[in-house]
Amino acid sequence: MASNTEMAPLSPKGMGSDTTRIRTSSPIARLLRRPELGALSGVILIYAIFFAVAGDSGMFTIEGIINILQVSAEIGILAAAAALLMIAGEFDLSIGSMIGIAGVIIGLSATVYGMPLSVSFLIALVICAGIGALNGLVTVKTGLPSFIVTLASLLILRGLAISITRYVNGYTQIPKITQSDPDSIVISIFGARIGQPVFAWMADHGWIAARANGLPVVEGLPVSIVWWVGLTLLATWVLLRTQFGNWIFAVGGDPSAARNVGVPVHRVKIILFILTAVAAVLFAATQVLAVGSADTLRGTQKEFDAIIAVVIGGTLLTGGYGSAIGAMLGALIYGTVQIGILYIGIDSDLFKVFLGLMVLVAVLFNNYVRRRATQER
């Protein structure tokens, strides 16, 4: 044992080194490691089924597709932010109530207090971001599960939204929000339909369905779809190509290990709670400004829809692993099934049955993929 200071340099394929037993990872193995894989297979499967069953029912006309995309976009805006938060190991159950209170703030500021719509939107953004920060702060400082903390927020915010609106307005709806400021820029940012000339042109040529007056049934692409795609791409870029994205994965994977190498765990989580709240405000804005009215019950149960889309999209409930693209595909599955079930003419109440089964299958599949991803030695 005296000679061990004269250690020979190690050869990469040294005798007994485990490198001799290694197989290189094939492109298929790499593909299997992607969190989106399950959701992508799901999308393909579901479209195959709907093509077979409802291919000629009108589901795949431009109206049908826009309907699907619009439903998917609304869930998807929330899911993009919820995915980042879940990858960081936390939940936000207050998303739905946040949508309600954001709508109420926009509505009351514009109608009762006569603010311009853009100012109303900014007020909602600031207040809700503050509430999001509070959600995060309470979660990291108390060490309570975010499930409990945001469950409390779910109740508190919904109760406040209803009670404030009733106190100020006399009843729980706020109509005619966009009337005083119909040309506001925020309407075109959140509530408009884009590409209207193109759609009109297509209707003129008889390519898409038109009303009796010659205008197309679908006037344009809802701008929420653009938000959905944009937010998903942004979230994906952050996750895969920025330092902050690396921290999100680390914080969800092992908070104490992350802290040991200098990652500001609390700060990362609080920022993500704020982002989720901001996504809820965007959702509220797309609804309120497109429809022109707010309802205190808006957004009820949207927190679950967002979580469902994220989980179907391959993100682990326990954090540390997941994808924003997956959440987008999860939202697309949600929207496709919800609209598609109307076209195939079966009881639409079965939608929830299907969704429940889908979540169960997705989680089982995710667990399988994760085991493969981490134990292929």
Partner: protein, 265 residues
């Protein structure tokens, strides 16, 4: 030669519990200094002081002969003291590259568009690991797919890459099989040969005696002395590690039980 890090007459207590008393300890460049002692002997406290997790209650901490106050692990790191904890600070689901650079991601680009330079990072990881004989197939694979020895080496390589001059290794081989442990021990010896100081904590006498140049034996928060390997035999080290007299008593007791079994069986 000046030690890279040195503790002089350090005393550390947590409330009423005295963890270390009048302890002096030094690590020179190019040596593996093995810290031995039973559970509760004060090994963890000692390395936490060195790593900047706890300040000493009394006594002096010197780096390159200069007295210093280290307030956080980050400061210790900045002064070249790299600690590899038992749990490795590695995240199993995260890729090799992402783990390696976690908290110190190389960036390209400007302002809000600065991005994590993944390709550059991948290239560094492949090079660093090839240098220590780990042929990594794909730096984007999860750390969970690496063997225990590879993971340990990755953690050490990370500390070295980010400028550690002293490595504090907390039980680096305790959870490993013979083969995996050998990989780690070879790497520790390589690091030592490159002039790094290594503090090596172990329960395993075979691992410790294989790689160490000097031993410091701890017992109940006090040093029982520091010995060069030539001054102390494997059995003597074992004797102290196992708690000295306790072991002789235990052996006597067990042989008595054996006698009884023979008589009654």
């Amino acid at each position: 030669m000046t030690p890279i890090i040195e503790l002089q007459s350090v005393y550390k207590s947590f409330g009423t519990v005295v963890a270390l008393q009048d302890l002096s300890f030094a690590v020179y460049p190019g040596e593996v200094h093995c810290l031995l002692g039973d559970n509760g002997a004060g090994k963890s406290t000692l390395i936490k002081i060195l790593a900047g997790v706890h300040p000493p209650t009394r006594g002096t901490y010197l780096i390159d002969g200069e007295p210093v106050q280290i307030g956080s692990p980050r400061q210790a790191l900045d002064r070249g003291i790299g600690t590899v904890y038992q749990d490795l600070a590695m995240i199993p689901l995260l890729s090799v590259t992402r783990n390696f650079f976690l908290g110190r991601e190389p960036k390209i680009g400007w302002g809000p568009f600065a991005r994590f330079d993944v390709d550059h990072a991948d290239a560094i990881v492949i090079r660093e690991l090839a240098e220590i004989g780990i042929d990594i197939r794909d730096p984007s694979q999860a750390v969970g797919t690496l063997s225990g020895g590879e993971r340990q080496c990755l953690a050490i390589a990370r500390a070295v890459h980010f400028g550690a001059r002293v490595l504090i290794l907390d039980e680096p081989t305790s959870a490993l099989g013979v083969h995996q442990a050998a990989i780690v021990l070879k790497y520790v010896a390589q690091a030592r040969n490159r002039g790094l100081g290594v503090v090596f904590i172990s329960h395993n006498i075979h691992h410790a005696y294989t790689v160490a140049d000097r031993f410091t034996l701890l017992n109940r928060g006090r040093s029982r002395g520091t010995y060069a390997r030539s001054e102390i035999s494997r059995d003597e080290v074992l004797h102290v590690m196992a708690g000295g007299e306790d072991l002789s008593r235990l052996e006597a007791e067990i042989s008595r039980l054996g006698e009884q079994k023979r008589l009654h069986g």
